[in-house]
Amino acid sequence: MNDQMAENDIILRSLDLFKEAFPGRINQILKSKEGGKKIVGTLCLYVPDELIYACGADRVILCGGRSAPIEAAEEYLPRNLCPLIKSSFGSVIDQKCSKTKSCPHFGMVDLIVAEATCDGKKKMYELLDKYIPTHVMDLPQKPENQNALEYYIKELESLKDVLENLTGNKITDTQLRNEIKSANETRKLLRAIYELRKSDSPPIRGTEILKVVQQMHFLSPDEFKKNLVLLLDELNVTKREFSGPRIMISGCPMAAGNMKVPEIIENQGGLIVVEESCTGTRAFWDLVDENKEPMRAIAERYLKIPCACMYPNERRINQILQLAGDFNVDGVVYYTLQFCHGYNVEKYRVGEALKKSGIPLLSIESDYSGADTEQIKTRVDAFLEMLE
């Protein structure tokens, strides 16, 4: 027991690299911006990075996971709105209107490429456009419809035009293929790391991996990939072995800064082995087919993302069941942000499907405040005791 604990204290050097790289990344973007590079901000996984990079622009993610900017946002947005939307918007307002400059990302953005996902975000984008030019890409809400793919390809073509106008560069097929290849490498690395979590005693905790995935869109793709390689190497040789009831987190994204629920789960003795979320599997699961015409291949891959704003979303339920089996999950913590109707409503069907497979579900709805920490702890304790 003591031996094992000591070995689990082994620090993975590569985990720090992700954190340490962030300040340097900000400077790098600022410098390249001075050199004329255009900076694109995104807020959702449906916007293909490949197009942005192929156009010679750089990309930053604007999703907010911190509670600080929410107050500023509530001068414009209703209180009863998803905290992710408020936090993201609040950061922009803060950058543009105050001297505190909370998040250095927001001030550098030349164009926001947004997407028609949930209602709250769409309406927020209308306001956002007043501060930073915002291009909203439409999404077919019934992705399995016959013409959905063609429609999405057209939207991507328009996005391509917008990006080309912004940068003055043309996106060539070769560049696009290179970016696809590079992004696929990152996806494969993440899948290889997740593969290790399938083991009976995974070498890494969920809270550690979450902080890595949260950095995915903050760091430059090359740096992120380089660090993933180091992490995978380290994990392959480490003697760390974690145990505890095996938990899957499923639901809303946990943007950087939002660690409350996973930290409670692992502090109370659970072990998160997989996250079905946009800061988890949805961010990298499917590859872009490198043998197909690039725009079509990109469209196919991105349209597969099983977000709760889509209808029907059977594919998400199937994905959850598949992951629960593959990662040998004991219980699912269904995480929703307050007022996120899509994921909140979908919870019922997910719960029914899991029940049929005999997998218990604990539902936690929360915001970015710390007010409910004790209540969440009680639920999590009871859930873990139930799984033991």
Binding site: Q375, T378, D381, A382, M386
Partner: protein, 251 residues
Amino acid sequence: MISIGIDVGAATTKAVVLRDNEIAGYAIIPTGFDFRQAGEAAYREVLSNCGIGESEVGKILATGYGRSSIGFAEKTISEITAHARGVGYLIPAAHTIIDIGGQDSKVIITENGKVVDFLMNDRCAAGTGKFLEYTAKALEISLNELGTLALVSKHPAKISSMCTVFAESEVISLRAQKIKKEDIAAGLIESIILRTITMVKKLGIKHEVAFVGGVAKNPGVVKAFEKALDTKVQLPEEPQITGALGAALVV
């Protein structure tokens, strides 16, 4: 072997002494401001109630909202597991446990004494003992009177607000309309159980149903549950101690 379970709730703290798997005695005290002090006070009181010296105590387990403040406990468990154990001991036939305390309400489904599912409302006073306390005040009666008064009502008033603050003003306006006190009392009780009934239905009722927690001492609420669930509700002799008992039962 003597083990002691301490349940530090938001409103009351309970302690149970278990001697060779038999309840030897218990204590119930108001929690007050300091969880740790409340835990210690309940511990001392239960020891003196049972005439036990500290050296005889084998183990101490804590549960409840303030469980982590009880530094002298060997181990803590959640109140959900604790209630399931405690009720399993007292009423083995019970598989649906309704617990309504001062600040929260929960429904637990068990199988062979183990928790298999649960739901909890602890985010607002709606549907908890606090709700009844506030609204009884608006009726200018005591909590006990509220329960007994409700029993004689023939036409419970409709209270549409589940929120404590709004319900209070609704009570005042019903009084202005000269609605009978007993009908308002019964209406309040029907409204407090609504949320809990929804939780029971969500989980799917499994017979028998046991009702524990401070609010289970209110006969009006018990009757309302039996009517709404269309089944008899089992009550332990002392419904407030099942959490502490369950903690004491943990090995």
